[in-house]
C-alpha cells in the first residue's frame, strides 16, 4: 500500500488534532476540575421520593456551602425559585418524579439530564449575584415548552434562610387573654441574632432572640383583649425582612357568635 506523502502529512496532522482535542478536554477535567455528572449517587424510587429524597429544598451545609435538592416533574421544578447566596458553592441534587427531564441553567454550564430513579449531582460556584432561568431541554410531554424555573443568586448580605410563622386566634372574647406563638426558623448553620417585633393596635413589643443554627426558636406574645377593646385589631410580627400580619377580632360573646356563624352556614 503506497500512501502519498501529502496524505501522510495530513494523517499526522489529523492525529495531532485528535490528540490535541483529547488533551484540551483532559486539561478541563484535571486542570480546571470540571467534573462530569456521574454515578456517585444512590438510586431512588421515583414513586417514593418523599422518603428517599425528602422535600425539595436548599440546605446550608458548611461555610459558604449549600445543597439544593431539586425535583423535576411534568412540567415544573421544585423548589421554584431556588435561592442561594452569591460567593457560595452549591451542590445540586436533581431527580425526576416521572419522565426524563433536564435541569439546565440558561447561559451557564450547569446542565444535566434528569432521569427517574437516578440522582444527578453537580457542584457549581456562584461568585456574583444574578437571576438565571432554568429550563427542561429534554422533551417530556405536551407542555414541555412551559417547563421552567428560576435560580436566584442573591447578594451575600441579603441572604438568609429564616422562616417566620405565627399561630394565633382570629377571635377572642372580650376580657380574655390571647397568645401569639411566633416561631423563627433558621436554616443556616450560624446562629441568628435578631429582634422579633410585635405590633397590635398602638402597642409595640420587641424581643431579642438568638436562634442557633438549623433550629427553631419560639416566643410568645400575650395580649389582654380588655386593653384592646371590642372590634378588629390589625397586628404584625416582623423579623428582619419577614413579616406576618393578621387581624384579631375582639367580640363580646364568643359562643354566641360561633353559634350564629354555624347557623348562617346551614
Amino acid at each position: 500500500m503506497n500512501i502519498h506523502t501529502y496524505e501522510k502529512v495530513w494523517l499526522i496532522a489529523a492525529l495531532l488534532l485528535i490528540v490535541g482535542f483529547i488533551a484540551t478536554i483532559t486539561y478541563g477535567s484535571v486542570g480546571l476540575g470540571i467534573a462530569m455528572i456521574d454515578d456517585s449517587e444512590e438510586t431512588v424510587e421515583p414513586s417514593e421520593l418523599d422518603e428517599d429524597f425528602g422535600e425539595p429544598r436548599v440546605e446550608h451545609v458548611g461555610e459558604n456551602e449549600y445543597e439544593a435538592y431539586v425535583i423535576a416533574q411534568t412540567f415544573i421544578f421544585q423548589p421554584d425559585p431556588i435561592e442561594v447566596p452569591a460567593n457560595s458553592k452549591v451542590t445540586f441534587y436533581v431527580t425526576s418524579r416521572d419522565v426524563i427531564h433536564s435541569f439546565s441553567v440558561v447561559g451557564t454550564n450547569i446542565n444535566t439530564m434528569v432521569i427517574p430513579g437516578e440522582v444527578s449531582t453537580m457542584t457549581a460556584e456562584f461568585d456574583e449575584s444574578g437571576e438565571y432561568g432554568i429550563i427542561c431541554n429534554e422533551y417530556c410531554g405536551s407542555f414541555h415548552h412551559t417547563m421552567e424555573g428560576q435560580l436566584h443568586v442573591v447578594p451575600e448580605d441579603e441572604f438568609d434562610m429564616t422562616e417566620l410563622s405565627v399561630e394565633s386566634d382570629d377571635e377572642v372574647e372580650l376580657g380574655n387573654e390571647t397568645t401569639f406563638n411566633v416561631a423563627v426558623e433558621n436554616g443556616m448553620l450560624d446562629d441568628l441574632e435578631t429582634t422579633v417585633t410585635f405590633e397590635i393596635g398602638n402597642e409595640t413589643t420587641e424581643e431579642e432572640i438568638t436562634v442557633s443554627g438549623e433550629s427553631t426558636e419560639e416566643t410568645t406574645f400575650t395580649v389582654d383583649s380588655t386593653e384592646l377593646g371590642e372590634g378588629d385589631h390589625d397586628w404584625t410580627v416582623t423579623v428582619d425582612d419577614y413579616e406576618e400580619s393578621g387581624t384579631l377580632t375582639v367580640v363580646e360573646d364568643l359562643e354566641e357568635e360561633e353559634e350564629n356563624g354555624g347557623n348562617n352556614d346551614e
Binding site: 490535541g20 480546571l32 470540571i34 467534573a35 451557564t108 457542584t123
Partner: protein, 65 residues
C-alpha cells in the same frame, strides 16, 4: 442524462505517479487552521467563559474565573 458532453472534456490523462494533490493539501491545510482556531475559540471563550461551570466537589477550582 447525456449532459456529461456539455462539460469540457478531459484535456490530459494524469497517471498515479505524476499526480501531486498540492491543491488538496492547500485546501485541507486551510481547513486544519480553521479547525484549530475555532476549537480554541469555542472551548476557551464560549465554554469556559460561560461559567458558572460544574466542578468537582473536592477539587478546588483554579483559574476558572
Amino acid at each position: 442524462m447525456s449532459q456529461a458532453t456539455e462539460e469540457p472534456e478531459q484535456l490530459q490523462e494524469i497517471g498515479h505517479d505524476e499526480y501531486n494533490p498540492i491543491g488538496t493539501l492547500a485546501l485541507i491545510g486551510l481547513y486544519f487552521v480553521i479547525l484549530v482556531l475555532l476549537w480554541l475559540f469555542v472551548y476557551f471563550v464560549e465554554f469556559l467563559g460561560n461559567d458558572p461551570t460544574v466542578i468537582g466537589a473536592v477539587l478546588t477550582m483554579v483559574g476558572l474565573q
